[in-house]
């Protein structure tokens, strides 16, 4: 058998960064509507730079489809919103019951939305001139996910490996590349060891951290928590965060590596330390960008309200007087807020979004690629008018 072929990612952070910055600027005059175009550009970037055996993926969707999908989702959400409003005017008990019911409904709908969104993306993915697709039934998936998640809740998380294996399997068994169906050879057994190991370790660290921390006065009933106690608890929380990332890296590696396409087999290796590295990098970048923004803000304030900084000190009285014009203050608040929000989502996309995609793509290799040479195209599937609910529910990245 031939050697496995490594997946290559050719995009750069710089390229994505410029595209995002341009998009954020265009979001302002378009009152947010440009987000459909921005998402489309982003996907084109991710797809076109993911190269398998010399040929990159191609994203064939466009922004208009997303816009239409959003409008369709509104048709579901406006009545839901009306229901929310009606509930808010009811007595507290009725409102709590009503809110819970709506929350459960939204949780259920999210499963539907996730599946539909995946369908939209897959059916607009082209490789070597052949389109991918997803069959199955989004309602079926939503029901599965819903009842599995209830079971996970009821078993305090212990049923999770079973749910994950079941849903991964459903997604891939209903995915297609041309006329060839994907398969999934994984089961809960692949996840059992890392999951229950992590589960146990988290329970122990959580209990010990909470025990020692509260014994040292980190969680007083009233008053100020002691430094020692708080430090112990923060350390425990950080350790638990690392454990979560460790488990994530295991689940991604093992589940992706169970994906098959006929005789072709995918192998993905994502190391926990690379995943942690992404988050550390993200934290540093975010802190750095906020320091830059803060410095910029001070300079702007200094030039607008220079009187307040006269003589090296800061005079709040004079400062407030320079804020007389209500409109300019409001504009400054809104602008500053948008800058902070923009910097945050930029860093999330550049370091977490791109980082994660690169980790998976560069950790992936495919054996038996030659067997795909006789895959034929299937009929068109253009019925999906957008991602529907996914766009309104804010689910799924990329």
């Amino acid at each position: 058998m031939e050697r496995p072929v490594a997946v290559v990612f050719t995009g750069t952070r710089r390229e994505l960064g410029f595209m995002l910055l341009r998009g954020y600027v265009l979001l302002i005059p378009s009152i947010g509507l440009y987000r459909f175009w921005l998402t489309t550009w982003k996907r084109r970037f991710y797809w076109a730079n993911t190269e398998i055996d010399g040929d990159p993926l191609e994203y064939t969707g466009n922004a208009i489809q997303l816009l239409l999908g959003f409008l369709m989702a509104l048709a579901v959400f406006v009545p839901l919103y009306g229901l929310f409003f009606y509930l808010s005017t009811q007595s507290s008990e009725a409102a709590i019951i009503g809110y819970s019911a709506v929350a459960v409904l939204v949780w259920f709908l999210m499963g539907y939305a996730i599946y539909r969104a995946r369908d939209f993306r897959l059916s607009r993915t082209l490789w070597r001139g052949i389109r991918c697709d997803q069959g199955g039934n989004a309602w079926n998936y939503a029901v599965r996910r819903f009842f599995w998640s209830l079971l996970v809740l009821a078993t305090a998380g212990l049923a999770y490996p079973f749910m994950a294996a079941n849903l991964w399997s459903y997604r891939y068994r209903h995915s297609w590349y041309g006329d060839r169906q994907f398969g999934f050879v994984g089961s809960w057994k692949l996840l059992a060891r890392p999951f229950y190991g992590t589960y146990l370790a988290m329970a122990v660290i959580g209990a010990v951290g909470l025990g020692i921390g509260s014994a040292m006065g980190g969680l007083p009933v009233s008053g100020v928590p002691t430094v020692g106690g708080a430090v112990v608890m923060v350390i425990a929380a950080a350790l638990m965060g690392l454990l979560v990332l460790y488990y994530q890296s295991r689940e991604i590696s093992r589940m992706f590596s169970a994906v098959r396409l006929g005789q072709a087999a995918l192998t993905v290796t994502v190391r926990a330390r690379s995943l942690v590295g992404q988050y550390v990098l993200f934290g540093l970048a975010l802190a750095g960008s906020y320091v830059v923004l803060a410095a910029g803000g001070l300079i702007v304030l200094g030039s607008v309200a220079s009187g307040a900084f006269a003589g090296g000190g800061f005079d709040p009285q004079v400062f407030r007087q320079s804020l007389q014009g209500s409109f300019s203050v409001l504009l400054a608040i809104v602008f500053g807020y948008l800058l902070l929000l923009g910097a945050f989502s930029l860093m999330v996309e550049l370091f977490l979004g791109l980082g994660f995609w690169k980790l998976v793509a560069q950790g992936a290799s495919i054996a038996g690629l030659d067997s795909l040479r006789d895959v034929k195209a299937r009929g068109e599937d253009t019925r999906l008018g957008g991602e529907g609910l996914a766009d309104a529910l804010n689910v799924g990245a990329y």
Partner: protein, 377 residues
């Protein structure tokens, strides 16, 4: 295109890669395999470029399988193809133009919705409020009152200053409220309660309940001030502002959610945007209630500008309030006073004052203040 250009070719039918040479012959793009076999002839007019990565040109053609692609790599080769086939640039520009038109149309439509909302909602919310059954609004008011008591008061709820509804003070207040509401066609009966609280405030709830906190009463120096604030609150009841505000807040939330694409409305941006818009409606409602109070003062002898004096005593506008006026739910006190002053000068003469001296003294002492003549602060 003099000479041929190397490219990759997918026929869109089978997942194969062909290394091909491209030739441009008389309005046709000819695709030839390495051994010279012809794999395709695409008319130049049918060609279009799809988005690819940098220095890569991906061509498709109308009339061919949707996945059929010719891929040219390398900056120089891409430039040569683009120079030979100007139709690609034209089509790209047409496509971009089409998308820009759609984006602009959608933006203009959205802007129109926002403007219509800003100017239409006070009207629309008023109409919708008219459709809400008064019984429903009354129940809602009671729910709100309970929630408010739970958050402001202690476990027992608000402590009413004078629990006897037939006392001199309570009867005088009820009479004033009924007289103020008279002629407004309101379906509600007023229920005005003076309650103990250290917060100097007064407010009206949906359904006709009005709360007047003792701390505000303590600060009132004249009947004018007390009657002015009370008439203002009755104005809120008469216009059903509580209900109206609830409806417009819900509408604003939906609109902001639409703009930001987050219909679940959990983002902070939604909160800020909604605050600015809602505060604007709220300021309109306050002005309306002020005008109502001035209208009541045409039937009874009190100076409605007193309400601005009382509010000013409780909390004068500082520089900060002025700076953030657009975020505030109330108009600046100075502006309110300026609007009320001319109204208070047009009042007819020879009217009865709202309260007799004995009644006013009873009201002033109903929350257990020692002597109405000496000011507490």
């Amino acid at each position: 295109m003099s000479g041929s250009i190397a490219a990759r070719f997918h026929d869109g039918l089978v997942a194969q890669v062909h290394a091909v040479a491209l030739m441009h012959e008389a309005g046709t793009l000819v695709i030839r395999a390495g051994d010279g076999a012809e794999l395709g002839r695409w008319a130049t007019a049918d060609l279009f470029a799809v988005h690819g990565r940098k220095d890569e040109l991906r061509l498709g053609a109308n009339g061919q399988p949707t996945g059929a692609r010719v891929v040219v790599k390398g900056r120089e080769d891409v430039a040569r193809v683009l120079a030979t086939l100007p139709v690609l640039g034209q089509k790209r520009r047409q496509q971009t133009g089409r998308e820009i038109r759609i984006a602009v149309t959608a933006t203009v439509a959205l802007a129109a919705v926002i403007v219509a909302y800003l100017y239409g909602v006070p009207l629309l919310a008023g109409r919708i409020t008219g459709l809400v059954p008064p019984e429903w609004e009354r129940n809602l008011g009671e729910t709100v009152a309970r929630q408010m008591e739970a958050s402001l008061g202690d476990d027992s709820g608000f402590e009413v200053c004078d629990s006897n509804p037939d006392s001199l003070a309570n009867r005088a207040i009820a009479r004033f409220g009924a007289a103020a509401l008279e002629g407004s066609g309101s379906p509600f009966e007023l229920d005005i309660r003076v309650v103990k609280s250290e917060i100097p405030n007064a407010f009206a709830l949906p359904g006709g309940q009005v709360f007047f906190f003792s701390a505000l009463l303590e600060q009132a120096e004249t009947q004018d001030e007390f009657a002015g604030v009370l008439a203002h609150e009755v104005g809120h009841v008469a216009y059903r502002h509580g209900m109206e505000q609830l409806i417009s807040t819900a509408g604003t939330g939906a609109l902001i959610g639409f703009i930001l694409g987050d219909m679940t409305g959990i983002s902070v941006a939604a909160g800020l945007g909604a605050t600015i818009i809602d505060a604007r409606f709220s300021r309109d409602a306050e002005r309306q209630a002020d005008a109502f109070a001035a209208h009541v003062a045409e039937r009874m002898d009190f100076n409605p500008a007193g309400l601005a004096d009382l509010i000013n005593r409780v909390g004068a506008d500082d520089e900060f309030a002025r700076a953030l006026a657009l975020l505030s739910t109330h108009p600046l006190t100075d502006d309110r006073k300026a609007a009320l002053d001319p109204l208070s000068q047009q009042r007819p003469t020879g009217l009865e004052p709202p309260f007799t001296t004995a009644e006013w003294n009873a009201i002033r002492s109903m929350c257990g203040m020692p002597d109405p003549k000496t000011k507490s602060k």
